[in-house]
């Protein structure tokens, strides 16, 4: 009897599902062990029959529910609740579901701001009133899944590494919950660390890091120690997968932006990073756009509404 799985995408980009496909051969093998009973991206699952109105959503019962994306509107809230009701185990799949992800950046603004910009002041747009027919109303902000429903397991990552997905599925199929790493991105990072004491000031990423392209990554100095805002140390490990590779952004020689969310669940990437910088005597006052250290973990009321001058 294969394990049944339902999958929904809420306010997200489908990147997590693409990552699932990136398990490659693993995906085909998986299909022997699981039965996907609901997944609108890949199969024709409908919430209701063509005549059945739109209040009661029907999702087949399943053992495991994967939800990616955060909760932004009434329909998504309803979907999340229905999934919770119909699935034995709910997995917050990807950073949006776990921490809000990029869409939670909108929490800096309110819906009025958003609509004004989107439908009335955009360059090419014929100004009009905001859509309100049929489309589900927006909630007042973007929520991570566990703010609205109970969540049993988290697979963070934007997107999660296929290895983590495969691992998590393996465990879930065996009836166990996935394991969450307690270390940060630095665990897999081979860059040379010699201390951050000499940094003093964080530079914007306007110039590439210093490194020799032919040399292995282990010869490159830690990007934070090069004065770039790499928030790997406060970000949960996992993006490098199991193969012993370096973290994926580091492979591209760019600093980590924190897409796996805080290293400790309940932790705060902004707090931890600012603290680490301040402790090292690094100026934190002149960091550009410090809030974007929460760009992946802005749900859970982490990001405050910004009072901004309307742009000219």
């Amino acid at each position: 009897m294969p394990v049944t799985i339902a999958a929904e995408v809420l306010s997200g980009c489908t990147g997590c599902e693409i990552a699932l496909l990136n398990t490659g051969d693993g995906f085909l093998k998986l299909l022997d062990r699981i039965e996907i009973v609901h997944m609108p991206l890949l199969m024709d699952s409908k919430y209701f029959g063509p005549d059945e109105g739109s209040e009661e959503i029907d999702i087949p019962r399943s053992d495991i529910g994967f939800i990616s994306g955060s909760i932004r509107n009434r329909e998504q809230l309803l979907l999340a609740r229905t999934m919770r009701e119909r699935c034995g185990v709910i997995v917050a799949f990807g950073t949006c579901a776990a921490y809000g992800g990029i869409p939670a950046l909108i929490n800096l603004f309110d819906n009025k701001d958003l609509f004004r910009r989107y439908y009335r002041t955009a360059e090419a747009t014929d100004s009009a009133s905001s859509p309100c027919e049929v489309v589900p109303p927006l909630l007042d902000r973007t929520f991570a899944l566990d703010e609205k429903i109970e969540v049993d397991a988290f697979i963070p990552g934007c997107p999660p590494h296929p290895d983590s997905i495969a691992d998590a599925l393996d465990r879930l199929i065996e009836g166990r919950l996935p394991e969450t790493p307690v270390q940060s991105v630095c665990d897999a990072c081979p860059a040379k660390r010699e201390g951050k004491g000499t940094v003093q000031k964080i530079k914007r990423f306007l110039k590439n890091a210093r490194y020799q392209p032919e040399k292995p990554l282990g010869e490159m100095r830690c990007l934070l120690e090069q004065g770039l805002l790499c928030i790997g140390p406060v970000t949960q490990a996992g993006c490098s997968g199991k193969s012993g590779c370096a973290p994926r952004c580091i492979q591209a020689r760019v600093p980590c932006r924190g897409c796996y969310g805080p290293v400790r669940r309940g932790g705060n990437q902004l707090l931890d990073m600012l603290n680490a910088l301040a402790s090292n005597g690094i100026d934190t006052k002149n960091l550009p756009d410090r809030l974007s250290m929460l760009r992946f973990s802005g749900a859970h009321s982490m990001l405050p509404r910004q009072v901004r001058k309307p742009s000219s």
Binding site: E17, D25, D51, I102, D289
Partner: protein, 462 residues
């Protein structure tokens, strides 16, 4: 499920509404609502886009150089395209040009991303409509294909996977990349990396040829007149071409907006606001771009549409005078001889998509063969400043436009985005409307029929 039963709309009239929700095997949240008249014939159909996230708003205040790593999350299927368009827009703001090697690397990654995307769409999302017997919707999916034709499925899954891994190996991430940076690229390509990718690229090209042959044998023969008429509308087209010879370009080209009759305007990326407007409907979060430059406004009236143009594969092939690679050019010639220029049948998107797949595979090899591709000068230093920049690339779903302004600190003060699918909002609505009117008669609907309507949406790969 009882698709045939009659229902009563909440307002108490006897008119009925048929709802398809969610529209499946597409990326994103859409709902189709079809209003039937008293006779049970489709009167009007609408495709509602159900979600919005507000990227244009929350980009405000972000340092511009960070934005290319944020906008990737607009779409997990085509992040590279957002990534590149965003970088070009930021470079416009900061007034900087990437070095030649970076231009090559960017196109390489962009085209490579097209390959995986086309495989995904043709075989995973749309394929089941053609490869499986009509009828039972519960089996109309890639999982079922995997069961029925495991070799094909394995091949397809591996090709898509390989494409992603080639990107990942070189650029760290294939989904939501970070490797393109304002001013260039974050790392050069070593000779070894180039040689490795070449091996994979040859395999991809073989597969592309196989895919076209496969489609010509197994899929396109199913394009009977009824299918060719499915969702057929007559519109203009928008796409990118080479400014020199008018051939197909996916990046670094000029935009060409073609009228239904085949005449066209060419304009630079920055000039898009002169030609394109966006219309707002109260029943969809998505906006409806239209050809403002034609001067007759916006209307989705099936008989008398105004300002409607389409993007995506079919549009690109229609606007391009030629394709710069030999195999794809041969296919284009064949395509044109069969369907004319511009070709209007909505189902031809699939065919055009596979020709583009061939082009993309050929182009990757061309780029890898370019001597400058391993040059180590890959990033010009950028200095934040106030400015405006527009970045356009051809994403799988159409012309992608990122338009930013920055303040004196180089932070985004204003962002306007038109993503590929958005251009097709009006055409999709019209195609669905057309399909619904053609198919729904006397109040009879069934799964098969409703899926035909969804197929009209899927052709656009929204």
């Amino acid at each position: 499920m009882n698709p045939g039963s009659a229902g009563t709309a909440p307002n108490g009239t006897s008119a009925r509404e048929i709802v398809i929700q969610p529209v499946t095997r597409i990326e994103g949240h859409a709902r189709i609502g079809i209003r039937l008249d008293e006779n049970g014939n489709a009167a009007e159909a609408r495709v509602h886009i159900m979600s919005m996230r507000g990227f244009e708003k929350f980009l405000e205040g972000r340092p511009a150089e960070e934005v290319p790593g944020i906008v990737t999350r607009i779409c997990g299927v085509c992040p590279w395209h957002h990534h590149l368009a965003s970088n070009i827009a930021v470079e416009g703001c900061f007034g900087v040009q990437p070095p030649p090697a970076a231009v090559l690397l960017r196109e390489l990654t962009l085209v490579q991303a097209h390959i995986s995307d086309k495989v995904l769409h043709f075989f995973f999302l749309a394929g089941p409509d053609f490869l499986l017997e009509p009828g039972d919707r519960s089996v109309r999916n890639i999982m079922w294909i995997a069961r029925k034709s495991p070799e094909l499925a394995e091949k397809v899954i591996r090709m898509r996977y390989n494409g992603h891994m080639m990107l990942e190996k070189f650029a760290g991430r294939s989904i939501h990349p970070e490797a393109i940076v304002p001013g260039g690229f974050s790392k050069p390509m070593t000779a070894r990396e180039r040689d490795e990718m070449r091996v994979g690229a040859r395999e991809q090209l073989d597969f592309a040829r196989y895919a076209l042959d496969f489609a010509k044998e197994r899929v396109f023969p199913k394009f009977d007149p009824a299918t060719m008429e499915l969702g057929r509308i007559t519109t203009g087209f928008l796409g990118m071409v080479d400014p020199e010879d008018g051939s197909l370009r996916l990046t670094d080209g000029v935009l060409r907006l073609m009228r239904p009759g085949g005449s066209f305007h060419e304009f630079s990326q920055r000039e898009y606001t002169d030609f394109i407007g966006e219309h707002v409907e109260p029943w969809s979060y998505a906006k409806f771009p239209y050809a403002r430059g034609w001067g007759d406004g916006f209307s989705m009236d099936l008989e008398n549409p105004c300002g409607i143009y389409r993007t995506n594969s079919l549009a690109r092939l229609n606007v391009a005078d030629s394709i710069g690679t030999p195999l794809a050019q041969a296919e284009l010639s064949e395509f044109r001889s069969l369907f004319g220029r511009p070709a209007q049948s909505t189902m031809l998107y699939h065919w055009a998509r596979l020709i583009e797949l061939l082009y993309a595979c050929e182009r990757v090899i061309e780029l890898l063969d370019h001597p400058d591709i391993t040059d180590q000068r890959i990033r010009s230093e950028v200095t934040p400043r106030a400015g405006r920049g527009v970045g356009c690339v051809e994403a799988p779903r159409g012309t992608l436009i990122h338009d930013y302004s920055t303040d004196e600190n180089g932070c985004i003060s204003r962002a306007n985005l038109i993503v590929g699918t958005t251009h097709n909002q009006a055409p999709i609505n019209m195609s669905v409307n057309r399909a619904a009117r053609d198919l729904i008669k006397d109040g009879r609907v069934d799964d098969e029929l409703l899926n035909r309507i969804e197929m009209a949406v899927r052709a656009y790969d929204p």
